[in-house]
Amino acid sequence: MKYLLLLPFIGLLWVPFYNFENPYFLGLPFFYWYQFLWIPITAFITWLIYRKHYAQEEEQ
C-alpha cells in the first residue's frame, strides 16, 4: 500500500502528462490546476496509509 506514494512522483515528474493549456478550469490552464489537484490527492493517499498502518501506534 505504501507504493501508492509513488503515484504523485509519476504524476508530477513526468511533465508531458500535463504540459497542456486545455481544458481550462477556473480560468487556469490545465498545467496549473493539474498540479494543484495533486496536493489533495497526495495528502489523501498519505492519510489512507497513515490510517491503515500507523494510526494505532502509541503516542510516546
Partner: protein, 499 residues
C-alpha cells in the same frame, strides 16, 4: 512603483505587528516551559513536546519562508511556468517526509540526538562523517538566513524607509528573544505569521484578479509579455525545460528536510505520529505557495515597474491595496522572515554545539553548558548573516543559497540510508567518500555554469539540462556503492540499537 515617501498608515500597522511578535518572542520562554530549563533540549528543541498543531505552524512557518513569498513570484514573473517547479517540489516533499522523518525522529528521540550530525555519529561512530554532515548543514543554512534578511529588506524599503538601521534593529530584537526563549519563540510567533500570510494571500488572490480583470486576463497579459520578450519562456514549459523542471522539483524535495531548520522542527515534535500527521496536513501550505506563485503573473497584469524581480510582490501590494492592508501584508512578510531566521540560527547553533564543541573542544560539557554555547552561537550566526547582507552584494547570498541546496542534498545518503534495510549495507568510509565527491563535483559544476542550478549535458547532439544537486547526488551514491564494494566492512556497521 515604490513610494519614496513614507506611508504612515502602512508603517503604523507594520510597527504594531512587529511589536506584538516581539512581546510574544520574549514571553515565549515561559510558554510550556519544562522542568530542566537549562538543558539544550529545552532551548534548542522546545522540550521535544510540540504536538500536531504547534508543529504544523512551526514547520509551515519555517519551511515556507519570507524569501519564498518574495522569490517564487519573482521567478514566475521572470520565467513563467518554469518557476512553478516550486509546486511539485513542495508536494513531493511530503511523501518523503512521511516515509523518512518518523524513523529519524524515533532514532533521535531514543538516543537524545538533537542534530543530523548526532544521528550520523550515533549510527556510524565516525567523527569525520559527523563533521562532514554538520559543516554542510551550517554552511548551507547560513546564506538562507541572510536571504530572510533580504526578504525583510525588500518590504522595509517598500514602506519608504531608507538606510540600514530599521533592518539592523529588527534583527537585533530577533537575536535577543531567540537567545532568551530558544525554539519556543519562533514556534509561538509562527501562529501569528502563518495566519497573517494566509489572510494576505487569500485576499490577494481574490482581490487582485478582480481589480485586474480576472485570471484569464491576467494570464493573457503575462503571455503577451513573455512573447514580446522573445518567447523563451511562457505559460507552458518548452520541451527542453521538462527535465530541469522535474529534476529541480525532485532534488529540492530530497534536500528540503536535510536542512538544520527543517530537521529541528521535526525533532521538536512529541511523537512519530505527530510528524506523520504533519506530512498529511502541511500540504495546505503548498496550496498557499501555488497561489503566491500566481502573484508573479499578476505583476504583469498590474504593469508594475520594478528595478529587480524581487520587488514584484511589494510593488503589487503597494499599487493595489489600501495602505493599512499594505502595512499588514508587509508585516506578514517581515514576520515571515523572523520565524525561519530564528529556527535556522537555532539549528546551526545546535550543530556547532553538539558536533563541534562537544566533539572537539569540551567532550565533558554538561547539558546546561551545551545550551549556553548554543545560545551564544545563535547570536554569532545572526550577526554574521546581518554583516553579510550589509557589506556584501546580495547576489553573493543568492548564489550561496543556491549552492547550499546542491551541498545539503549530498548529506541525504549519510542521514537517511541507514534507516532502511538495503541502506544499512553502507558504512561510514563509503558514505564519506560519496559525500566528498558529491560536494566537489556539485560545486565545480555550479561554478563552471556561473552559479546556475542546472547543468547542460550534450548527449548525441541533444542538450539536456539537469539539476546539478540531483546529478551530484547520483554520482555521490555511485561512488558510495563502489567504495563500499572495495572497502568492504571497514568501519562500524550501522548500529542496530540506534535505529
Amino acid at each position: 512603483m515604490i513610494p519614496r515617501h513614507i506611508d504612515w498608515t502602512a508603517l503604523g500597522v507594520f510597527i504594531f505587528f512587529f511589536l506584538l511578535v516581539t512581546v510574544m518572542g520574549f514571553w515565549a520562554s515561559r510558554w510550556q516551559a519544562g522542568s530542566d530549563h537549562k538543558h539544550l533540549d529545552e532551548w534548542g528543541l522546545g522540550g521535544r513536546k510540540f504536538g500536531t498543531w504547534i508543529t504544523w505552524f512551526l514547520v509551515g512557518g519555517d519551511f515556507y519562508t519570507a524569501y519564498t513569498v518574495i522569490a517564487v513570484p519573482a521567478l514566475v514573473y521572470a520565467v513563467g511556468a518554469y518557476g512553478f517547479f516550486a509546486l511539485p517540489y513542495t508536494i513531493l516533499v511530503y511523501p518523503i517526509v512521511f516515509l523518512i522523518m518518523p524513523k529519524l525522529w524515533k532514532e533521535a528521540h531514543k538516543n537524545g540526538h538533537v542534530t543530523a550530525g548526532d544521528i550520523v555519529w550515533g549510527r556510524y561512530r565516525s567523527r569525520p562523517l559527523e563533521l562532514a554532515v554538520a559543516v554542510t548543514g551550517v554552511v548551507a543554512v547560513m546564506p538562507y538566513i541572510a536571504l530572510q534578511l533580504v526578504g525583510m529588506e525588500v518590504v522595509i524599503k517598500a514602506l519608504g524607509l531608507t538606510g540600514e538601521i530599521p533592518l539592523t534593529a529588527a534583527f537585533i530584537i530577533l537575536a535577543l528573544y531567540t537567545y532568551s526563549a530558544g525554539l519556543r519563540a519562533p514556534a509561538l510567533i509562527a501562529f501569528v505569521k502563518d495566519l497573517m500570510i494566509y489572510i494576505v494571500v487569500l485576499v490577494a488572490i481574490v482581490l487582485v484578479p478582480a481589480k485586474l480583470g480576472g485570471y484569464h486576463h491576467v494570464l493573457e497579459t503575462a503571455r503577451q509579455a513573455y512573447e514580446s520578450k522573445g518567447g523563451a519562456t511562457g505559460l507552458l514549459l518548452h520541451p527542453q525545460q521538462f527535465v530541469p523542471f522535474a529534476t529541480l522539483a525532485l532534488g529540492s524535495a530530497l534536500a528540503a528536510f536535510m536542512y538544520p531548520h527543517t530537521l529541528t522542527g521535526v525533532f521538536a515534535a512529541k511523537s512519530a505520529n505527530t510528524v506523520r500527521k504533519n506530512a498529511i496536513y502541511l500540504p495546505a501550505y503548498t496550496v498557499l505557495l501555488g497561489l503566491i506563485a500566481m502573484l508573479g503573473y499578476m505583476g504583469w497584469a498590474a504593469h508594475v515597474k520594478v528595478e529587480s524581480n524581487s520587488d514584484v510582490v511589494p510593488a503589487l501590494f503597494n499599487d493595489l491595496f489600501p495602505s493599512w492592508f499594505t502595512g499588514f501584508a508587509f508585516s506578514a512578510i517581515a514576520i515571515g522572515a523572523l520565524v525561519p531566521a530564528a529556527v535556522m540560527s537555532i539549528g546551526a547553533a545546535n550543530l556547532f554545539t553538539r558536533n563541534f564543541w562537544k566533539a572537539y573542544i569540551n567532550p565533558q560539557v554538561t547539558a546546561a553548558g551545551e545550551a549556553a554555547v548554543a545560545k551564544v552561537t545563535s547570536l554569532v550566526v545572526k550577526v554574521g548573516a546581518l554583516v553579510c547582507i550589509l557589506f556584501l552584494p546580495t547576489q553573493f547570498a543568492l548564489d550561496l543559497q543556491l549552492l547550499g541546496g546542491v551541498w545539503i542534498v549530498q548529506t541525504f545518503p549519510a542521514i537517511c540510508f541507514g534507516l532502511f534495510g538495503l541502506g544499512r549495507w553502507f558504512r561510514a568510509p563509503a558514505l564519506l567518500a560519496g559525500w566528498a565527491v558529491g560536494i566537489i563535483l556539485g560545486s565545480w559544476m555550479a561554478f563552471a555554469d556561473h552559479v546556475k542550478p542546472v547543468h547542460a549535458f550534450v548527449i548525441g547532439g541533444e542538450s539536456i539540462s539537469v539539476y546539478t544537486g540531483l546529478f551530484a547526488l547520483a554520482v555521490n551514491i555511485i561512488v558510495a556503492i563502489i567504495v563500499q564494494l572495495f572497502a568492504g566492512n571497514r568501519g562500524v556497521a550501522p548500529n542496530a540499537e540506534q535505529a
